[in-house]
Point group: C2
């Protein structure tokens, strides 16, 4: 069921849409990548636009469970060292997982061509991540680990610089090691500024 043709089409569509854009993707290439004929696609989806919309449905569902539910929050750090390692671990994953990379590319490149993508982009790059870390910081502040600052503000100034370097990683994956050095440098600076001594 997981690896049904219907899902495989969406998997491959994500790759092509992310790499060449909606307009730059044609159904012949998509079918060829799947070892199918073009007309077979129409047994599962009614049109190119239908594939696009179903892909966005899947992405929205993913974000709804990632950012929507309280259940799968990352573990609450018990120290600033743990905040550091948690952050680096999350980034290491987010920057290397092929599907997440492609999703970021698609959100960036199609955000002005599709209203749903626009909303997902703000959710992914700004609100979602910010709210997630705001909760973490809220806990760390009440545990006396961080200075008593507004956790939303703290999260904003923590996540947006990191996100901008994640985007740089997407552009220059060959420089990932060096960019991670910059991220570590930043995170340490942040901790040294806002850790409660």
């Amino acid at each position: 069921m997981e690896n049904s043709t219907k899902n495989r089409i969406l998997d491959e569509a994500l790759i092509l849409f992310a790499e060449h854009g909606y307009k730059g993707t044609n159904l012949r290439d998509l079918a060829a990548q799947l070892g199918l004929s073009k007309s077979a696609l129409y047994k599962h989806y009614t049109s190119k636009e239908d594939i696009w919309n179903c892909l966005l449905d899947r992405m929205e569902a993913y974000y709804a469970q990632r950012f929507g539910s309280e259940s799968n929050l990352p573990p609450q750090p018990k120290s600033c060292d743990e905040l550091f390692s948690l952050t680096m671990q999350m980034l290491r994953f987010t920057v290397n997982d092929p599907k997440i990379i492609l999703t970021r590319k698609l959100l960036l490149t199609e955000q002005f061509h599709d209203e749903r993508v626009k909303k997902l982009a703000t959710k992914h790059f700004l609100e979602g991540t910010q709210r997630l870390f705001a909760k973490i910081f809220e806990g760390m502040i009440s545990d006396g680990l961080l200075k008593k600052e507004n956790p939303e503000m703290l999260s904003f100034i923590y996540t947006t610089p990191v996100t901008s370097l994640v985007h740089l990683c997407d552009r220059e994956p060959e420089n990932q090691a060096q960019i991670f050095g910059r991220i570590e440098h930043f995170v340490k600076h942040f901790i040294s500024t806002y850790a409660e001594k």
Copy 2:
């Protein structure tokens, strides 16, 4: 000379490429917007790709003079209040100038489809702005206005959050007022954290 057909074509191409992408733009629409026939375009450019490349040439030239030369730096702030108003003034401009908005959109949406755009994107969104403010902060530190921190780091944590809100402005221009409230809030927080008292 400024308003030659050759330049008008590039002006209109920027609009269409930024709004619909390279692939999503067709030469018939481009010609129609200019009140020209499609074949007239070929009197000035050899192909669609040629138009694209010449547009990038123009953008590169713009960035070379904006970020390259030391000459046109913004005035050095004599106080943190002046840093605040300088920042808000620059943002007010960058977020409302149609050509700059379109340029940002083009850099974002085409960064993974073109090597030159990729490099310009990093220059525009990261290095250029960062270096510009690093110089400003360097001056303010030696003037005793800001704490003695690494100006590059200071600029990084100043410009990347602001840039992320500029992107939000591009996505939601109808919320510009509210977003500017968030920017002001952030800038004040930054100043209160790093101003030398």
